[in-house]
């Protein structure tokens, strides 16, 4: 006979301001099987938990329904409290009176009725709960880091230095990411390359890190502690074991007029190339789409000049399969290009560039060797306009968020410009200066006070070209929204930061959620900022939202900490909320008919064939068997099973039906 206890939480005022908790407790006391029902201000507090524990002992409860907030919040709390009082933790359920009731309704009788219904449903469910035992699984103590920008580098180094193996996968031929393209960094103006390259080298040299560049994630299977990852190593057409990085091939390649991605199209590169001088690894790749040999079948000059015999034209993509225990997503971001802006000419004006292009112009290793020169004619611009919020905070363009880094890098650009062009004038059209951060506001003040940046508060409505000048038409909202027209030599758009190309596809491969802008979603905006919703998969850096370097590095170290924690145990405990196939006495063995529909739909490859044999070894029946290590409890198999032989533990069909019944047949 069921003996159920009901505990109604006020959640301070969160629930009680809207729901009459005492009334709900009173009503619940009358449900069949309920032997104890009370309400209390904070059930999750220590005294609240004690109330639950004491009631279990005192009333010899067989099931507990805590009616409070979302189970995502406090289910572990109350299950632990139940376990401590001697009740199997899976005999405890939560009715969500906060998110499902008080927060979404007005205070009235109907709301109380709904709260009572919600409790009744869970009471009926918990009567049918089984005592379950957690599942133990082993952990592979190798981490996969996807992306070799500053976040990936930091995460990889921290995990490796904690003594664990790391596999780093980078899509481009070199690690370094966007940070390797930057000239100087705010707010200290230290050289980006100078602080990053030692870390890049460290990655290459750390014995715990295996680096795959020019590689992408093909598939990920398994679960926390036990992922199986397939990596596609794209053919570089170079034998990496032979190449000594002499670079002769790149200088001799006759096909030199290809747009240089690293220089954002402002320079050319050969078809066989190393993206930049400090690249790690310092091994070239052949761009098959541009290479004369791949296009015409003739040339092979690189092969002729290579002393190491490292050129391999027939190299194929290679798929590598690796087991890993945890995954860090550090895939970074991208920025909108100038062609995103109709009112600024759809990218047709050469001297309207984006912020990253300006970084390359200001960089000593860039196409102009650090001199600010405009792309159209190589002249030094004497009047330069920076446009902040280009595409950011612009719902009409589909980007309502603040890209966060632009205010600071625009101030930096204005400073760098003044340092390089002393007689030049920099104008900055801005809406707000968002400089929250250590020494950030001081930095923007420096741009204004010491380096003469002329800030104009207003947006730019239109930019057009006339006689080699760019006419920038904006408003000054601090002067009554007067029109301001500036005849500029060059314009830099601080374009919106957006999710990296391929982020959505990667999210789907990894089964992690992402937002409408294709940025990866954290598990909780405050308390789980580096976790994803999928256990064992973490995220760091600008793949989550636009972030600056310190933030990305901090998040990466956070991820490394999380992964190190995970790897500190030799096995993991998992919730036993998984699918099981029913078992019956012989000769039926199970109601499963062996159609294996479930096998074809299972996204985790968790379903195997089990053969039942008689004493003589003859096959009697084939059944579906669900591997408890692989099953994630998604329930897809339950939905397709025609013989209704599969149930999810903790969410059995009979439990679900009883909940619906309690709602409908009252």
């Amino acid at each position: 006979m069921a003996r159920i206890g009901v505990f109604i939480c006020h959640c301070g005022e969160n629930i009680s301001a809207t729901v009459d908790c005492a009334k709900v407790a009173e009503a619940a006391a009358k449900f069949p099987g309920v032997v104890h029902s009370i309400d209390y201000k904070y059930m999750c507090s220590d005294p609240g938990q004690t109330l639950v524990g004491n009631a279990i002992k005192e009333h010899n409860l067989t099931g507990v329904v805590v009616s409070a907030c979302s189970p995502r919040m406090h289910e572990p709390t109350f299950r632990r409290a139940c376990a401590e009082a001697g009740l199997n933790p899976y005999q405890c359920e939560m009715a969500n009176l906060r998110e499902h009731c008080s927060w979404v309704h007005e205070r009235n009788e109907k709301t109380d009725d709904k709260a009572i219904d919600l409790v009744r449903m869970l009471v009926e469910k918990v009567k049918r709960n089984n005592a379950l035992q957690p599942i133990k699984v082993p952990v592979t103590k190798t981490a996969l880091v996807i992306g070799g920008g500053v976040a990936g580098i930091q995460a990889a180094l921290d995990i490796a230095n904690a003594g664990h193996k790391v596999i780093m996968v980078e899509r481009e031929p070199s690690i370094g990411g966007h940070m390797s393209q930057l000239s100087e960094t705010f707010p200290t103006l230290d050289c980006s390359q100078c602080i990053l390259t030692p870390r890049m080298v460290e990655v290459a040299q750390n014995p715990n890190i295996k680096l795959y560049t020019y590689a992408e994630i093909e598939s990920v299977e398994g679960f926390v502690g036990n992922f199986i990852v397939k990596i596609r190593k794209k053919a570089k057409s170079i034998d990496e074991s032979k190449c000594n990085g002499c670079g002769l091939c790149t200088t001799k390649c006759p096909n030199k007029k290809n747009p240089n991605e690293f220089e954002l199209g402002m320079a050319k590169r050969p078809a066989i190339y190393v993206p930049f001088p400090q690249a790690v690894p310092n091994i070239p790749v052949i761009d098959k789409t541009q290479c004369t040999y791949y296009k015409t079948g003739k040339c092979k000059i690189c092969e002729k000049v290579c002393q190491a015999n490292a050129i391999q034209f027939d190299q194929q993509d290679e798929i590598i399969e690796v087991p890993v225990g945890a995954i860090a997503i550090c895939t970074g971001f991208d920025i909108k290009k100038t062609d995103f802006f109709p009112e600024y000419g759809y990218g047709k004006h050469k001297d309207i560039i984006d912020g990253l292009q300006f970084e390359r112009l200001a960089s000593a290793s860039g196409p102009t060797a650090g001199e600010i020169r405009r792309p159209s004619d190589g002249q030094v611009p004497k009047k330069i306009v920076f446009v902040a919020c280009a595409g950011s905070r612009d719902p009409a363009k589909g980007i309502e968020y603040c890209s966060k880094i632009c205010c600071m890098y625009t101030a930096k650009h204005a400073i760098l410009y003044k340092h390089k062009v002393h007689d030049g004038t920099a104008y900055i059209f801005y809406m707000d200066i968002r400089a929250a951060g250590k020494n950030y506001d001081e930095f923007t003040r420096r741009a204004i006070e010491e380096d003469d940046a002329k800030y104009i508060r207003g947006r730019v409505s239109k930019i057009y070209e006339r006689d080699g000048k760019l006419i920038v038409v904006g408003a000054d909202t601090l002067m009554g929204a007067q029109t301001v027209e500036i005849e500029a030599d060059m314009v830099v758009l601080a374009t919106a930061g957006v999710a990296n190309q391929g982020a959505e596809k990667l999210a789907q491969i990894l089964h992690v959620s992402y937002d409408q802008h294709k940025f990866f979603s954290e598990a909780h905006p405050k308390l789980k900022p580096v976790e994803t919703n999928t256990a064992g998969i973490y995220l760091a850096g600008a793949c989550q939202s636009p972030k600056d370097i310190p933030e990305s590095v901090a998040a990466a170290s956070g991820v490394a900490g999380k992964i190190s924690c995970l790897f500190s145990n030799s096995e993991l405990t998992r919730e036993p909320l998984i699918a099981v196939v029913d078992r019956l006495a012989p000769p039926q063995y199970s109601s499963c008919t062996g159609c294996f529909m479930c096998q074809s739909v299972c996204p985790y490859n968790a379903i195997e064939r089990e053969e039942i044999k008689d004493r003589n070894g003859n096959l009697v029946k084939q059944l579906a068997f669900i591997n408890p290590g692989l099953c994630q409890g998604c329930g897809t198999c339950v939905a397709v099973c025609k013989s209704k032989s599969i149930d999810i533990e903790g969410y059995t069909n009979s439990q679900m039906y009883s909940e619906v019944d309690a709602l409908l047949n009252f």
Partner: protein, 190 residues
């Protein structure tokens, strides 16, 4: 937590704009892009974004300034503002509403009298004939605006080029048009 303030009636001008035209001025974050692109913002006493700012405060003296402003009459409805507005604040219908409120409350700016006279002459022509009778419009407007000299030079050459008709075109179902005027603009004015 669950108490909502959204059912309260906002009697400010911006509240009325939201209710009647569906344009939320609270969305405007004063970037000024509309003012920068507006072809007549230099003629206006308050460029569009400033006009919105005045309404955002909800202060009666600011609302009064808006209703008595030149700006609302100088707006050409060229739609440049809304086509570039990052927050999609639909300014032209807001201007339409402000003009009709300004007229209703007899607060139209004196500088706008020519525009209003022109519009009235224009609509009178349609009400009488069903179509625009340009010759009649110009004569009527010039008489109303007491501006007989301006454009006098243009009329003969327009006439010579066959651009002005001496007689108005009359549509057949003028009763229908009169009805339309009676049920719309004339209903409100009287």
């Amino acid at each position: 937590m669950s108490d909502s303030h959204n059912h309260l009636i906002d009697n400010s001008l911006s509240g009325k704009i939201k209710q009647n035209v569906g344009v939320s001025l609270a969305r405007c974050y004063q970037c000024g892009k509309c003012s920068a692109g507006c072809p007549v913002s230099s003629d206006m006493d308050f460029p569009p974004s400033l006009l919105i700012r005045k309404l955002q405060t909800g202060l009666p003296e600011h609302e009064e300034e808006v209703l008595r402003s030149k700006s609302i009459w100088y707006c050409l409805t060229c739609e440049m503002c809304i086509s570039r507005c990052p927050m999609e604040v639909d300014i032209p219908p807001m201007m339409d509403y402000l003009r009709s409120e300004s007229l209703r409350l007899h607060k139209a700016n004196p500088a706008a009298k020519n525009i209003i006279k022109f519009h009235k002459a224009f609509l009178d022509s349609i009400e009488q004939t069903g179509r625009l009778y340009e010759m009649g419009l110009i004569v009527d407007y010039k008489a109303r605006a007491l501006n007989l000299i301006q454009d006098v030079a243009l009329a003969p050459s327009m006439f010579a080029k066959g651009k002005l008709k001496i007689m108005p075109e009359l549509i057949k179902n003028r009763k229908n048009i009169k009805q339309i005027f009676k049920k719309t603009i004339n209903k409100k004015q009287k």
